[in-house]
Symmetry: C2
Subunit: 314 residues, 2 copies
DNA sequence: AGGTTTCATGCAACCGGTTACATGAAACCG
DNA sequence: CGGTTTCATGTAACCGGTTGCATGAAACCT
């Protein structure tokens, strides 16, 4: 009755529903789940290593809100899965099976986590963020890292800079690699020479950006612009430039990536490639629900980025 | 058997467990929940108004990790409850009943939210953060806002400041009111006169701090120190001081509250009253589990704060 | 040894839904 | 009008655990 309302005639249905409301009837989700093997719950795996302080994705909250809102509009709830105490690699898969979760979303730090593999290889619909995962029922959502990086470099070129350096993400992270690719592609497209000494590896954090910038400033022919593959690194770089007695953007123009809250707040304002944070959540929700309901694996979703120009590029 | 292992003898138990592991037996949580009416899940209500961008509690992630970790150690999972589409005031309560949730934690913005009232008045164990809630099975976790504020003022006095102003939280928020109380109490304890014009209301955000500071700078006898009831406001105030051509800490010493990540990053470093973020999560978890298992309502938990001294107070 | 108590084990009902199937009434056919 | 098809409604089994009770064996008593 509550699943196929059309099988009973309208008048009877009306009576039932009004009575149900009157006496406060509430369907029991556990009974429904037990009978149908569908829980209308999606698992969220985040921070797989609970000993570490958790990956400080700077806009986790916004992703989470988007995800939660989009799921709830379709009648799904979000269950946060904890790493189980035993630490066996299939602990997530077991938790999913025990709870009859209909699908899973994972947010890791952009590196492959072995404890997710059993899940990915199972029949459980999985959506990962920022990184493809190998498995029959998996897809992922990511930003257009290559395109965003290209736009950043193009912007620096457009304001007259020619010695454009980059501070990359750590080797082995997917977003880091893609943003580097975009940097190189755009240099080539603009006809600028690729100077290997202008590519310095960072760690996505403030200190890594600071260190990398100092290295760049010590070059004989120092750059007049830097594209940092993350805002925190860009802010670290900004500090290093200031400490060296140079000015942003006069001496060095700076572009970051992410558009974290701080980017707008740090003087003189950080130009950056904004990611669609809420879009991550809604796209992930849409993908997992498609898998659940249609039984088809949607193609990876590449979200567009947008350049936000602030004081650090004039 | 899986609930009372001691009722069968050790050898048999061993056999069962090993066989269970071998054939990959997994207990079905829905069946268990249906039979026992206990789901081993705790609901999380956060961001009750899903039309707004969500309350940007600056350390939501840390609270969440603490909560999730502490709950999972006791065998509980966290279900994020979405505001239901119908918007009726008892929608949360209905969701809790449908899922047989064992308890609920809510993180709101420090103001009473009417949609939480039916839940609070029910038999469901509820723990709220930063704010007491009226109901038979409710308790709360908060920081020692009064004590923290007093320590901040005492510190400013200790470094020689005597004209100590405060930028408060918005009227009507509990933490805001308590921090103001601490400010006033400590002034009295130190024998400093309370000058009403040195108390300016803010909004917990950057812009409010900025505006409030400008008002303070226009006073005839301007303060030589400011205690802001939140770090974001303190940073806004810092900016206003700098813009006015004055120096922190030489002309104005500044203390904030919260210890958000940014506090350490903004030059010259913000002295602030640090809250125990992870402690919020673990304390909330402990409280809700006590209510569930012991059937007793624990007393409100007041977490100690600690003063972190940085450049803004010399 | 016969009768009673103690305890382990097996069995069946139950939790609250879903679903496949049986039943019976109404609508249709020649 | 008898026989078949169509459709609505009622019934019972099932999902996979938990729990209270009945059963029967072992241990105890006089």
């Amino acid at each position: 009755m509550f699943n196929n309302p059309e099988v009973v005639n309208a008048q009877t249905r009306e009576l039932i529903l009004s009575t149900a409301a009157r006496i406060g009837y509430l369907p029991n989700e556990s009974a429904r789940t037990l009978a149908t093997k569908r829980s209308h719950m999606v698992g969220l795996i985040w921070d797989t290593d609970h000993r570490r302080p958790g990956w400080r994705h700077p806009f986790f909250q916004e992703i989470l809100i988007g995800l939660k809102t989009a799921l709830s509009e379709r009648g799904y709830h979000l269950l946060m899965l904890a790493t189980s105490e035993d630490g066996t690699p299939d602990s997530f898969l077991r938790a999913v099976r025990r709870h009859n979760l209909d699908g899973v979303v994972f947010i890791d730090n952009g590196r492959a986590d072995p404890s997710l593999q059993p899940l990915a290889e199972s029949e459980v619909p999985c959506v990962s963020l920022d990184r493809p995962v190998r498995g029959p029922w998996t897809t992922y959502v990511t930003s257009d890292n290559v395109g965003g990086a290209r736009e950043a470099v193009r912007h620096l070129h457009a304001i007259g800079r020619r010695a454009i350096a980059t501070i990359t993400g750590p080797a082995g992270t997917r977003p880091g690699a893609e943003r580097l690719r975009g940097y190189l592609d755009e240099l080539a497209a603009l006809g600028l020479a690729h100077r290997p000494e202008l590519v310095v590896e960072g760690d996505f954090y403030l200190s890594g950006g600071h260190t990398a910038m100092r290295a760049l400033l010590e070059l004989e022919e120092r750059p007049d612009a830097v594209f940092a593959a993350g805002d925190e690194m860009a802010i670290g770089a900004l500090r290093a430039v200031t400490e060296a007695g140079l000015k942003v953007p006069e001496d060095i123009a700076l572009v970051g990536f992410d558009d974290i809250e701080l980017a707008a707040l740090v003087p003189p304002g950080l130009t950056t490639v904004a990611q669609d944070k809420a879009g991550f959540g809604t796209a992930a929700a849409a993908a997992v629900i498609t898998m659940i309901n249609e039984g088809a694996t949607p193609a990876p979703r590449i979200l567009p980025t947008s350049l936000v120009v602030r004081g650090s590029t004039g």
